[in-house]
């Protein structure tokens, strides 16, 4: 049902059932908000989106109030503006005045609100909040003093990730967001996915920065710094530096890394190819024995942690194959750099990931003999951007650096890891080849593509049919796990990504990503798949070479220790 309402003196058509904010968005009137999130039911807690409606006592929140036929709305009347301004002034009263030192400087919603609402003085003279920063977790840092209690992180943690590691405690002005028993984040049910950072309007949540470690390594003459980067990183960097996502971007990106002092540059996609090989072999082994199915992928460390903590019964079903980041670290330290005449201990492997959880993962994987890590430092995409700026790299003056090391050769299957469904697609291509000796046709599996959180399809391999599933967003995984735990048997492979839509939306990506940028990142990945010559992992010459020279054949006992994790079940949590 449609009807006309009056907004700021003009007649506007509105539909029954939509909120005032829906109408305002449609006609291009912007009202500020801090607590509202697209796709979530409004909580109406920040009260910044209030508007004046004739006949109603008090101001009403436009995010949750539905339009009605008789309404006459004023969105920017003096009364409304005063209310909004006062609310932000109140928020600023106890907020630490640290904008200049804050890592969200110039990218902070509170800061821009204060600017938009023209706040030019500290109205309320009072004590600033000072609360201890929670640095207990190796991936995520919490600074409750900067928190404005909008509640977005709680909702994403509960409704999208489904672990509810944080919630509000205390009441009134003593309310804080905290973990259970107010212990550090490391001992909570947190899976370190970093989605909370992505929705935080201020710097209350951020990644643990490794920039200084990397800088030190770059300038340490005794070290041989190398870098690996995840498939989604170049496209995201391009967004930040306003570069066109073309084929050249990869070479430009390499040039930037070279200029910063990294001696060798690897594409983690190569290790992803290796992951596919191992995982495919592991699956075929299980398939032939028809035991411990379905097999879950294990490339997402947040998912692995979740399974370790909450679903121990399902742990044998997780693939034991290591994640691409750790495979790369291990291969680099064990084989590749030794061919360049470097000792493993002097090689410093930095990885750039769109993920905060990888920091935690890298920390746990150490060499047995000297206790050094296979991946020494992990940077998120955001940190790399900061590092590039810090090092004064100007992309417009860079000469594209061609692919120099043979080791950065990779198939597009490995590249697909960046998006939910992509890992599975690459894996199936190789499984098909390994089981039948023929390439899959068509090579594109459209059912596994697109911005959806749950994708299912049947794959014909010879005379057999595989049922596969790609699920992203840990809360969505829960329902699948429940089905499987209660006896669902028809699924054979489940790809799990903690962040919705996969790593393109990872917790280490640029803050303020919208659906448009997700789509462009996804497109960049699928474009590579279109153009690339090698589309399957088993055709990657580096991989075949590696197996010939060092590793034997996939899933062999010889490389169990190198490329597979100790049976996950035995790990202590």
């Amino acid at each position: 049902m449609q009807f006309d309402i009056e907004i700021n003196g003009e007649q506007v058509t509105a539909k029954k059932g939509e909120t005032i904010k829906n109408v305002l968005d449609r006609i291009g009137i912007k009202v500020p908000t801090l607590c509202n999130m697209n796709g979530f039911t409004p909580t109406g807690s920040c009260r910044l989106c209030v508007v004046e409606v004739d006949g109603l006592q008090g101001l009403v929140p436009s995010c949750s109030h539905q339009v009605e036929e008789w309404m006459k709305i004023k969105t920017h009347s003096p009364r409304v503006l005063k209310a909004r301004k006062t609310i932000v002034e109140l928020l600023l009263a106890r907020h630490p005045d640290e904008c200049l030192y804050c890592n969200r400087n110039k990218n902070c919603e509170l800061q821009s609100l204060a600017e938009e609402l023209d706040i030019r003085e500290r109205k309320h003279q009072t004590k600033r909040l000072s609360i201890q920063i929670d640095r207990a977790c190796s991936s995520i840092e919490r600074d409750p003093a900067k928190c404005i209690l909008c509640g977005r992180c709680i909702r994403i943690c509960d409704e999208v990730i489904g672990v509810a590691a944080i919630d509000i405690m205390g009441r009134g002005s003593d309310s804080r967001i905290g973990t259970s028993y107010n212990k550090g984040l490391n001992v909570s049910s947190c899976v370190k996915c970093g989605q909370c950072i992505m929705v935080c309007p201020t710097a209350a949540l951020s990644e643990r920065s490794n920039i200084q470690t990397v800088l030190d390594a770059l300038h340490n003459p005794e070290l041989f710094p190398v870098i690996q980067f995840s498939p989604t990183v170049p496209a995201s960097i391009a967004e930040d530096f306003n570069l066109k996502t073309s084929k050249d971007i990869l070479n430009l990106f390499r040039a930037a890394l070279k200029k910063m002092g990294f001696r060798q540059i690897f594409d983690t996609s190569m290790a992803a190819d290796l992951t596919i090989m191992e995982e495919a072999a592991e699956f075929i082994d299980r398939w032939n024995k028809q035991s411990v199915l379905p097999m879950f992928t294990s490339c997402c460390p947040s998912w692995v942690r979740y399974a370790e903590e909450e679903k121990r019964k399902l742990l044998p079903n997780l693939s034991s194959t290591r994640s691409p980041q750790q495979m790369m670290g291990r291969v680099v330290k064990n084989y590749i750099t030794s061919s360049a005449g470097q000792k493993p201990s002097s090689v410093f492997v930095v990885s750039v990931m769109p993920c905060t959880s990888k920091k935690h993962e890298a920390e746990g994987d150490v060499m047995k003999d000297n206790n050094t890590r296979y991946v020494d430092a992990v940077l998120t995409t955001r940190e790399l951007v900061r590092l590039i700026r810090l090092m004064g790299i100007d992309f417009s003056c860079l000469e594209p650096e061609p692919n120099d090391t043979a080791f950065s050769l990779r198939s597009s299957a490995g590249k697909l890891f960046g998006v939910s469904g992509g890992h599975l697609e690459g894996l199936i291509r190789t499984i098909h080849y390994m089981m039948t000796g023929q390439e899959i046709n068509p090579i594109k599996i459209n059912d596994l593509r697109g911005l959806k959180t749950k994708k299912e399809t049947h794959i014909k391999i010879g005379k057999q049919v595989l049922k596969v599933m790609a699920v992203s967003g840990l809360a969505n995984v829960k329902s699948v796990l429940d089905e499987i735990e209660s006896g669902r048997k028809d699924v054979h492979i489940v790809e799990v990504m903690t962040c919705p839509f996969g790593c393109i939306n990872g917790g280490g990506q640029r803050i303020g990503s919208d659906e448009k940028s997700l789509k462009s990142r996804m497109k960049a990945i699928y474009d590579v798949d279109e153009e690339e010559m090698i589309k399957v992992a088993h055709k990657n010459p580096i991989i075949t070479d590696l197996y010939d020279k060092f590793l034997g054949h996939p899933n062999s006992d010889q490389n169990k220790d190198l490329l597979h994790q100790v049976p996950i079940t035995e790990k202590t949590v």
Binding site: G44, S45, C46, R47, L59, L90, L149, S173, S175
Partner: protein, 649 residues
């Protein structure tokens, strides 16, 4: 005592009284009923007020003393524990009814008075002190020279409708309620009316919610009835946390079955098969009485499956509230019942559309529900005949503070506040002048004596900026500092704010800080400080407006009320605090300056020893002095001086 045993009593009450439409009995039945109602007693009956207020005043000790007296003297008498009659400051209240004689009330019956008092009464004489009055009953012989209790100023202007039985019957006995026509309305309702008809009757009665918002009860029920769902809930809100208000407790402790009957009728009207009573965990007496009442009603077949063979089922559960002020708000209450954090939700959708566990839910206050049985019994026209235009019926009001007579009273809507304050409550206890009346709990306002002509009612109170709310009147004399009082309420609201919405969370904190700044002793007094304080007050008004305009729930919206009303009526007191650094009531410690009168001081040295700040100097047996810069105004010296040599300004 009834000559029937308990099972016979039950059958008699259900079959002959409850199911008797006409209300006309034969002689035998009438006599039997009179026995159960204790209108006719064979042995003496003693009624002891054992509500929470009674127990606090020592009623349990009085009870022991009575039992001991009866045992020692080998007397056969029944002791009935009743709820509070409303006159809490007169507790422990003991009523004695000798066979054939009128029931006589004694106030302040502490344990040591029991023996003399009972000795006298059992010998048909009276000790004149502590008599409250005698109850009027046609067939009872009057005590000579004793006033009737309905003539007592505390009761004379009351219109006891909801409180009809409170304090007179035993809350532990369903028989007492049934014998007085209890559950008849429920019986009539479930057998004769459709839910739609019940909603219509309540709509016609113009009953409005007694919990605060004043929403039309019938309309609320209708909304829930019209929302299609296979499951609906009724929630009785007894989560009472206002300081100085104790009404929910009074209803439950005095007449729990009236509340249960209201709940059952409301559940029937909206089509709910499950109802919850949300009682604060520390109202232990209420919890025990309510549990007992539910068990009795189930035993009598009044609750549970297929009530009165009508096909209507009702399961009733008690929920203990953890004691958060904000959980009195219906959406927070629902959230806390769902084991969520007790924070309010945005409305719409209203709970009547989407409430407890997503099902249509009606949340009604105890008093609202307690009004329902009488409306169905006497009809909506009767109810509408009481009260004023917009506010029908009666309102129970609690009286606290420095009132001469404290407790709770039921008055018709439209009665001027001054009548309650001066006639019923008897003004300030020690004859001091009245400074203000605080009305409506922590969100309420302070009215000076000149504003007391306002009437009790939804609209009339709104006009002066108050809300009817749970309606507690707190009488304040001139020993109260209005700035301190505003600070006290602000502190309470600030502490009880749930922290969800910014204006309430941060705004109440700021307002409290500003008020604290006004009452705090500045280390270095300069014109700048005075200016800051002045600016603070200007900010108070600004903040109050925004908090009121934008807060999510009633707590935030009304949080600035006490400050705004005090600023309006007692602005001079604020100004004194700000500019003259003076608190006329002497309450704000930081603003007190102490001096020693050298003519009186004999140098005993006590004050010097007690002063925690070593601010007092002086040799022994010589007059002492207070160093003003060191003095914190704690007042310990003032309290310790035996010669009244210390005074403050």
């Amino acid at each position: 005592m009834s000559v029937l045993d308990s099972i016979q009593t039950k059958d008699f009450l259900i079959e002959k009284i409850l199911k008797n439409y006409s209300g006309i009995f034969d002689k035998g039945t009438g006599e039997q009923l009179a026995l159960i109602k204790r209108e006719k007693v064979i042995h003496p009956v003693l009624y002891l007020g054992m509500g929470t207020c009674g127990i606090v005043s020592g009623a349990d000790k009085t009870y022991m003393a009575i039992q001991k007296y009866l045992n020692d003297n080998n007397l056969e008498a029944e002791v009935v524990k009743t709820g509070c009659l409303g006159f809490c400051s007169a507790e422990p209240l003991l009523d004695i009814q000798l066979p054939g004689k009128a029931r006589i009330s004694y106030q302040h019956v502490t344990q040591e008075k029991v023996e003399d008092l009972l000795n006298a009464v059992f010998h048909h004489t009276l000790i004149p002190e502590n008599i409250l009055g005698q109850h009027r009953f046609a067939s009872h012989e009057e005590w000579p020279g004793v006033d009737f209790i309905d003539q007592h100023p505390f009761f004379a202007q009351q219109h006891r409708n909801v409180l009809h039985n409170t304090g007179l019957i035993s809350p532990w006995s369903i028989d007492d309620y049934l014998a007085r026509g209890g559950y008849k309305s429920l019986f009539k309702t479930v057998l004769n009316y459709t839910p739609d008809k019940v909603c219509e009757i309540i709509e016609q009665s113009e009953l409005r919610g007694r919990g605060g918002g004043g929403y039309a009860t019938g309309k609320k029920w209708r909304n829930a009835l019209d929302t299609g769902s296979d499951q609906k809930f009724l929630v009785c809100n007894a989560e009472e946390s206002d300081p100085g208000v104790f009404l929910n407790r009074a209803f439950i402790e005095g007449d729990p079955h009236r509340v249960l009957e209201g709940i059952a009728i409301a559940s029937y009207a909206i089509g709910a098969n499950s109802a919850y009573i949300h009682i604060r965990y520390n109202h232990e007496q209420s919890l025990m009485i309510m549990e007992n009442a539910i068990a009795q009603a189930k035993e009598y077949g009044i609750l549970g499956e297929n009530i009165f063979a009508s096909g209507f089922n009702l399961n009733l559960f008690i929920r203990k509230g953890a004691g958060a002020f904000v959980c009195g708000e219906e959406t927070s209450l629902i959230a806390s019942m769902e084991s969520q954090r007790g924070t309010p939700q945005t409305k719409p959708p209203y709970p009547t559309e989407k409430g407890l566990f997503g099902h249509p839910t009606v949340v009604n206050n105890v008093e609202t529900l307690a009004n329902v049985p009488a409306i169905l019994e006497n009809g909506p026209t009767w109810f509408r005949s009481i009260g004023t235009n917009g506010s029908k019926g009666t309102k129970v009001i609690s009286l606290a503070g420095k009132a001469t007579r404290k407790g709770f009273v039921e008055v018709p809507m439209g009665i001027p506040i001054s009548n309650i304050v001066f006639d019923i409550a008897g003004g300030i206890s020690d004859g001091k002048p009245l400074k203000a009346v605080q009305i409506g709990g922590p969100f309420g306002i302070c009215i000076p004596p000149k504003g007391l002509s306002a009437e009790i009612g939804y609209e009339s109170l709104q006009e002066i900026g108050a809300s009817l709310g749970l309606c507690g009147l707190t009488l304040l004399d001139e020993d109260i500092c209005m700035v301190s009082l505003s600070k006290y309420f602000m502190k309470l609201l600030h502490k009880e704010s749930c922290g969800k919405c910014i204006p309430c969370r941060e705004g109440t904190h700021r307002m409290l800080e500003i008020l604290e700044g006004i009452t705090k002793r500045p280390k270095e007094e300069s014109s700048h400080e005075t200016l800051e304080r002045f600016k603070g007050v200007v900010q108070l008004e600004n903040l109050a407006e925004v908090i009121h305009d934008t807060s999510l729930c009633g707590l935030g919206k009304n949080a600035p009320n006490p400050v705004l009303s005090s600023l309006k009526w007692f602005r001079d007191e604020f100004e004194e605090h700000i500019f003259d650094r003076k608190c006329r009531a002497g309450v704000c410690n930081d603003l007190r300056s102490f001096f020693i009168d050298v003519d009186i001081c004999n140098g005993c040295n006590v004050c010097q020893k007690k002063c925690p700040e070593t601010a007092i100097i002086g040799a022994i047996r010589m007059p002492h002095f207070i160093v003003e810069s060191k003095c914190t105004g704690c007042g310990i010296c003032f309290d310790s001086c035996k010669f009244n040599a210390i005074y403050y300004k």
